[in-house]
């Protein structure tokens, strides 16, 4: 069980969080009329990285915020976390 540093609440046990998949996947708006390939990429294509992975977590049983985490998928080490919208 990981300890996840919530950028709002500080380090908390993984039980309080839910996983949100890869971070920084841009969602095309309907108005931009994305091509089928672009929309497909947004919907289904993910990186499956070995190493440092930017991923979304939600402190669902805490402050309820979504945020981002850089985690090493080979060691589970969390390098840092930051709020949604930040880099």
């Amino acid at each position: 069980m990981l300890v996840i540093p919530c950028p709002y609440c500080g380090p908390r046990p993984e039980l309080e969080f839910s996983y949100g998949g890869q971070a920084h996947v841009a969602r095309p708006t309907a108005a931009s009329n994305p091509s089928p390939a672009d929309w497909n990429a947004f919907q289904y294509e993910r990186a499956n990285i070995k190493g440092l992975h930017a991923e979304r977590w939600r402190h669902i049983h805490g402050c309820a915020r979504f945020f981002n985490v850089i985690r090493d998928t080979t060691t589970d080490e969390i390098v840092r976390s930051y709020r949604s919208g930040e880099k």
Partner: protein
């Protein structure tokens, strides 16, 4: 008398004044308080305690700790409390203990399965892959069950476990695993600095090797006195928790260590309130492993007979329990420590018949002491075989020649006990579970911890200080503890422990002992528990296995419940030699948790029975239960399914309930529907972006049926949404969908549209919801309602108002999931039960009934109203589900909008919701049935859809079904065929509305 092999004095674990009666395989024995089952049996001269896994060979006690691969027993209190596969050395004796040997029939002394040993040349490793290949079908029905019955270990309890298993989350700065000398020195150091320290040890009493130490003096005291004083200091420290009988079995990411604490297994009559075990999940800033080392057995022919023990185990039995394993002892060793054992056994009255050392040269204070005591030491000597059936009676010793082979005549030395020592293997299991690296120590021939994978340190024997002087161990442990506490932000304080009369010891042996060119002594076991021999490992390599992971799996070495604690390094050495590679080149297999077996009870903890998961009940649950309602689980909720009267079964009750609702009215508990308050100036804009509907046109005080998709364009949830104020919407969701809908909404709000000024609050449990449905609903409610007009003109279908109901501030929604005139009364939940009762009483004059979820399903199906998750399956668009009309036509954005443009999602041949009427009106189709367009097909059939909902409608006096069918809406009137176990059922495709197709009753 507690056994003929008990010494007159000594045994620091014992209370000699407290004899204990116990039973093993039906025979009564006596032991002493403080004994383990192993020590008590040995005190009574019992060595034969089990039969081996595959060959059913007689086996005895080999080790004094849980690593013992042989002495597995079942301890039985009753049919519900019977624990198999316990190491006899870990079972603490209590008055009346009943234990049984395993894997034998009909008895331990005469076992039919022993024939496997004679047939062993036909059952080499991997035999089951080779032998039982034909016929294929016999594997499951014949071979596997037979093999499992013949092999296998103990038998689990046959009744449900009545005990309580506790769990706890622990937090500390420094967790120390192992309370031997290294762990104690670390604990003293860390504790004196004020950090929270948790010290655990798997034994009943702390001290580890200090408990068997008779010579060393620490701080001027005997080792056992120092141990007692140290434990007192730790017990008095507020910041220290000491857990004994506690095994650290897993080291997980981010410094979490799982501990299994055994609380009552050692008690004759455990208090009913006391949990049997406690599972700890400890989060430590720093971990110190002081897990010690495990003595290695020697691999030579016939090395598995009862009476053959590890030398260190014999020393433990003698010094901790006052037990002599035998009276005429042969010692075979490659390590100096066994000399200490020889000296102490001799002093305790045993005769050391021979002391054979595999090494050509051995020197040091222990060897000198042995020589001084007159022990005859045979150097450069190996064992080529043993004799004895149920107990060893002789050992064949032979000299080792210059080529490293046994040479010359075999000297058969008669004895009743053979003690062996191949040196010590550091217990690096937990270090390795935490992804720590290992380093091969060429001189000591062991793997020791190198770089740690997490914030942990290894100290003492597990770090490679096996047989080292105690002073070095203390120094290393104190330094590690100082560093660990400093890293936690605690000031350093020096701790020094003075040691005198200390001796170090060395040596070790890996792999097979020297043998003659054509050895004839029988099987040389490497893994006692899985009956893997040196020859098996050789066979695996000859058959082409190269990776140690493959060799392990093919031979099953190290794969028994002991996970190869005594065998892995010998197996690795033998494999490496066969492969012609070095040990570090071949490498170890992966260490995985658990370090020792952990019972399912402990892992389940409190999560059993009523506490397995929250059982959610509405405020009206008590009323429904008192009325005899039958409940069904819907997600975590308990919902009333139907209300049987006078012995009705479900079908009768549902038939009646449906008719009463359509004729008069019914009351229904809709509290479990999810409710989300969407509030803020951008509430409408947010809903426009989330739901497919156009919300701009929804006036305050009006409701609308909303549909929510995922971005893949498929229906995710649905529900009625009411605009309760200019900037506020009351959104309802399906019962099971409430958390995931809120989660999806929060995801888009927080990460896609954070600029929107709108907030979401779950109010599912704020409101109790009482649905009153049927033509008389208004008549029932009007007497209870103040400050609102329920007339059709002022509160039409899909309108809402605030009101007082029974004097309670309420929201009334005029909505219907039955197709009848209907209201859903929302009152604050604490009032739910009282208001329900008032509505119920008011309804009695109108013949109102209470109805449950089953009737709700039938009533809505008669109207063709879908249930998301039943009539949809995560691959259906709104159009597929027949609710395409709800999709806003002029919208610029909503979740799923882009996907709905895909050609595949607009294919007219997609599965579409339709009604089905069976030719036989009494035949109710099975939900999930497949549908064929042409009759009489044989598999593989061409299928065009499936049934999603199917009921008998008492109102329509016939069965009805909803289904999804390819291009269903263009098949109206077509006959389709539903294969059933009783033959094909012809069905006619219809509109999915079976009752009041014009919807007039809604407007009553």
């Amino acid at each position: 008398m507690s056994g003929h092999y008990r010494t007159a004095s000594g045994g620091i674990d014992l209370e000699r004044s407290r004899p204990i009666r116990f039973e093993f395989d039906g025979q009564a024995y006596q032991g002493l308080q403080g004994d383990t089952l192993a020590s008590a049996l040995l005190a009574n001269g019992v060595h034969l305690v089990g039969r081996s896994f595959k060959y059913h060979r007689p086996r005895g006690i080999m080790a004094a700790g849980p690593e013992d691969p042989n002495a597995l027993v079942t301890v039985r209190r009753d049919a519900a409390r019977s624990t198999p596969n316990l190491s006899a050395a870990q079972v603490e004796l209590y008055e009346g203990l009943v234990a049984h040997s395993q894997n034998r029939w009909p008895s331990l002394r005469f076992d039919v399965g022993r024939i496997n040993d004679l047939l062993s040349r036909f059952i080499p490793s991997g035999f089951y892959y080779k032998t039982f290949m034909w016929p294929r079908t016999a594997w499951h029905s014949l071979y596997e069950p037979r093999i499992r019955a013949a092999a296998g270990l103990g038998v689990a309890a046959t009744e449900a476990d009545p005990d309580v298993y506790a769990q706890r989350y622990g937090h500390c700065e420094v967790l120390i695993v192992g309370a031997g000398p290294a762990g104690l020195a670390a604990a003293l150091t860390a504790a004196r600095r004020g950090a929270r320290v948790l010290l655990c040890d798997e034994q009943a009493l702390p001290g580890g090797s200090l408990r068997a130490d008779t010579g060393t003096r620490i701080d001027g005291k005997a080792a056992t006195d120092w141990l007692r004083e140290t434990m007192l200091e730790l017990a008095q420290a507020q910041n220290v928790t000491v857990l004994t009988r506690t095994t650290a079995f897993g080291y997980l990411p981010h410094n979490m260590v799982c501990l299994s604490e055994r609380l009552t297994d050692h008690l004759a009559s455990p208090p009913a309130s006391k949990p049997r075990e406690r599972l700890w999940q400890v989060r430590a800033r720093q971990v110190i492993f002081a897990t010690g080392a495990i003595e290695r057995p020697l691999v030579f022919p016939g090395n598995d007979r009862p009476g053959i023990l590890l030398a260190g185990a014999a020393r433990s039995f003698l010094n901790r329990f006052g037990v002599l394993p035998g009276r005429r002892v042969v010692i075979l060793t490659a390590h100096d420590e066994a000399y200490r054992t020889a000296l102490e056994l001799q002093a305790a009255g045993a005769q050391i018949v021979a002391l054979a050392d595999l090494r050509a040269r051995a020197s040091g204070p222990l060897i000198d002491a042995a020589r001084g005591a007159g022990l005859a030491i045979r150097r450069n000597t190996t064992a080529v075989g043993t004799r004895g059936n149920l107990r060893v009676c002789a050992v064949g010793l032979a000299a080792v020649d210059a080529d490293g082979a046994a040479a010359g005549d075999t000297d058969w030395v008669s004895c009743d006990t053979l003690l062996m020592s191949g040196g010590y293997t550091p217990s690096v299991h937990l270090h390795s579970q935490g992804r720590g690296k290992l380093r091969w120590e060429e001189t000591a021939q062991v793997f020791v911890p190198a770089e740690a994978g997490q914030s942990c340190r290894s100290v003492g024997a597990c770090k490679g200080l096996t047989g080292a002087a105690l002073a070095a161990v203390f120094n290393q442990a104190a330094t590690a503890a100082r560093d660990a506490t400093t890293e936690c932000g605690f000031e350093a304080l020096p701790v020094t422990i003075a040691v005198s009369d200390d001796t170090s010891a060395g040596g070790g042996w890996l792999g097979t002992l020297p043998q003659a060119a054509r050895p004839r002594g029988g099987k040389a076991f490497v893994d006692w528990q899985n009956d893997v021999t040196a020859a098996d490992l050789g066979l695996a390599v000859r058959e082409g296995f190269r990776s140690i992971e493959h060799i392990k799996r093919y031979t099953t070495t190290g794969m028994a419940t002991d996970q190869g604690k005594t065998s892995n390094l010998n197996a690795l050495a033998i494999a490496a030699r066969q492969l012609g590679r070095t040990i570090p080149e071949v490498g170890l297999t992966t260490f995985r948790m658990p370090y020792l077996p952990v019972g399912f009870g402990g892992l389940a903890g409190y999560a059993r029975g009523e506490l397995f998961a929250p059982l959610r009940k509405t405020p009206m649950y008590g009323w429904a239960a008192a009325r005899g309602a039958v409940f069904e689980p819907v997600s975590m909720w308990q919902r009333a399914r139907y209300f049987p009267e006078r012995g009705e079964d479900m079908h009768q009750a549902v038939a009646r309930e449906c008719q009463v609702v359509r004729r008069s009215c019914g009351i229904f508990d809709a509290t479990t529907l999810g409710k989300i308050e969407v509030a803020g100036p951008d509430a409408i804009e947010f809903m426009n972006r989330m739901y497919v509907n156009n919300w701009n046109s929804l006036a305050v005080g009006r409701c609308r049926y909303g549909i929510l998709l995922r971005d893949d364009g498929f229906v995710f949830d649905d529900g009625v949404v009411a605009r309760t104020a200019e900037d506020r919407l009351h959104v309802t969701t399906t019962t099971g969908g409430a958390p995931r809908v809120l989660g999806l909404m929060e995801d888009y709000l927080q990460t896609e549209w954070p600029q929107l000024k709108v907030w979401l609050t779950s109010t599912t449990e704020q409101w109790a919801v009482i649905a009153v449905q049927g033509p008389r609903a208004r008549d029932v409610l009007e007497p209870l309602v103040e400050q609102a007009d329920l007339s059709a003109a002022s509160l039409p279908h899909m309108a809402m108002t605030r009101a007082l109901v029974c004097g309670v501030p309420a929201m009334i929604f005029r909505v219907s999931f039955t197709g009848e005139l209907g209201y859903e009364i929302n009152v604050p939940a604490d009032y739910g039960a009282e208001v329900w009762r008032a509505v119920w009483e008011s309804g009695q004059a109108h013949g109102m009934c209470a109805y449950g979820t089953e009737s709700m399903h039938v009533l809505r199906a008669e109207k063709g109203y879908i249930i998301v998750g039943q009539d949809t399956d995560g691959t259906m668009t709104p159009d597929d589900a027949g609710v395409g009309w709800a999709v806003g036509k002029s919208k610029s954005e909503f979740v799923g909008m882009v996907s709905l443009r895909k050609r595949a999602l607009q294919d007219p041949n997609r599965k579409q919701l339709v009604g089905l009427l069976t030719a036989d009106p009494r035949h109710v189709l099975e939900e999930g049935s497949q549908i064929a367009a042409t009759p009489g097909q044989r598999p593989p059939m061409q299928l065009v859809g499936h049934v999603t909902s199917s009921y008998y409608s008492s109102v329509l006096r016939r069965s009805i079904a909803l289904a999804v069918v390819n291009g269903g809406r263009s098949r109206m009137g077509e006959t389709l065929y539903v294969p059933t176990p009783a033959g094909e059922s012809a069905v006619t495709v219809t509109q999915p509305v079976f009752y009041d197709s014009k919807g007039e009753r809604l407007n009553g």
